[in-house]
Symmetry: C3
Subunit: 204 residues, 3 copies
């Protein structure tokens, strides 16, 4: 089970790196610039979580994560230069990565005895901060905060469900599956049907 989680986590890192490279293409970054954006996207969320919890940063301890991010970034860079991949292809792997990162981040925070609301925010940060960092480095407003994505929303509801279900006596493994299901379904429904939350609008 632990080995499974480890490799699924690695896959989520790879998918995030891929979205980082795709995004950097809009900004005339060169190969190394694109790779650094890929690394920031893939490892940024977990890094901020580890700094906030005062843990050892995960990719400094085990640089396999860094290798996965760089390898995928490199591969993506050269594939995208020769084949025109539709960006929509990656929305489902990206949603899986969001679900996974959020659940892992929340569980790590709980194990570190973080109070529940702070732990749910750690899950959200682990899930979405890589994408926020990618958008800041590319000088865009972070898309995870924008209307019509339900990105951070899905992550937060998932993190809260994970905590609530365990509080009610569900086993950690079952709660994790349920939370990942909630995040995936919400995110895919948002993409499919354009679900939105209210905004403040351009009122000012």
């Amino acid at each position: 089970m632990d080995a499974l989680l480890y490799w699924v986590g690695m896959a989520a890192v790879a998918v995030s790196a891929l979205t980082g490279v795709l995004d950097s293409g809009r900004k005339q970054m060169d190969l190394i610039g694109a790779l650094l954006v890929a690394v920031a996207t893939a490892l940024g969320g977990g890094t901020v979580r580890d700094l906030l919890l005062d843990r050892n940063v995960f990719w400094v301890v085990d640089q396999t994560y860094l290798m996965a991010a760089l390898g995928t970034g490199l591969l993506t860079f050269f594939v995208v230069r020769s084949i025109d991949l539709p960006p929509k292809l990656f929305l489902i792997p990206d949603a899986v990565g969001l679900a996974l990162f959020t659940v892992i981040g929340t569980q790590v925070a709980l194990q570190w005895h973080t109070p529940w609301l702070a732990a749910s925010l750690m899950g959200v940060i682990t899930g979405v901060f890589g994408g926020v960092l990618r958008d800041i480095l590319c000088n865009d407003v972070p898309s995870v905060f924008l209307k019509g994505e339900l990105y951070a929303t899905a992550a937060w509801l998932g993190a809260l469900s994970l905590i609530g279900l365990q509080e009610l006596g569900t086993s950690p493994v079952n709660a994790a599956w349920a939370a990942m299901g909630i995040i995936l379904v919400l995110r895919l429904l948002a993409l499919r049907f354009g679900l939105t939350l209210p905004t403040l609008g351009q009122t000012r």
Copy 2:
């Protein structure tokens, strides 16, 4: 006295969260996006201070701060959607928050045996970094650095006064009141009379 400071600090967190929500309204963020910007604005300065000093992050230890930021953010979001509040309404509470955050941040750094100039910068970071983070997330140039605000300037002069007065023998409580007064007065004078510092201008 400590209990008073605690609750005044909580009020400053709430005011900062409010300005975060108001700002996010210009960028088509949805409810959860706005709440996350509110949390970053309210807790960002103290978080960076705690990371730099290698302390436990304050809102991870006591999530009451997080609840205050989220609760105020939520309330602001729904009030602003129904009533049109003039943004100027919040300039005075915001200046009070700046004064308070700066003084608390400087004192925490001094207690942590930080050398004086670094401690004054910790005060400035605690006071202004939340607003910097808010503006970065909203993809603006941080307003605290811009001409005609005297925002970071007031914070820095206040932090240096706090340290200098204690060095001269003033009690910490009196020095704190004096420093908060200096920050408030400078900030309000800047708003009222448009005081400015020199800029480099568009010379290049």
Copy 3:
């Protein structure tokens, strides 16, 4: 030797502060805003390295670095207001600073028993993150990631050479000189002949 490195490092901090002030001139920042950008540019890379390695932050321990950044920032501000300096004047000192920061950052990470690839990234972060922070604060796409600079590229190749040469038995001092040479030459060749790495282009 250690004393030499200390003061050369201090000079690199000063040069970085100078580029921070020059950049802030394009954004109508006031004096204190420009000084804070200068501090972020000069100390940002080493700060992130120290946070990631869980070391004490270097300028909190020894505030001489902070004084060097502020002093140089202040001087630059007033010199630039009266004399029109060509920005190209600073490209060579800046390249020296890049080489030095990268080598110091990589060596510190190796001493902290960081695995090699992560250590090389620490070198890159120490070398370039100050500039990234400067560009984020000035609301630009970080120039170190852009085509035609070979900035992060030179830093990374230098960091990898430093590690590889030591692995092959070269003394740390000789490896450091070689790595600094590689970074400087690559960066200056890029500036002189417009060397570039491939980009993803505006394909999407």
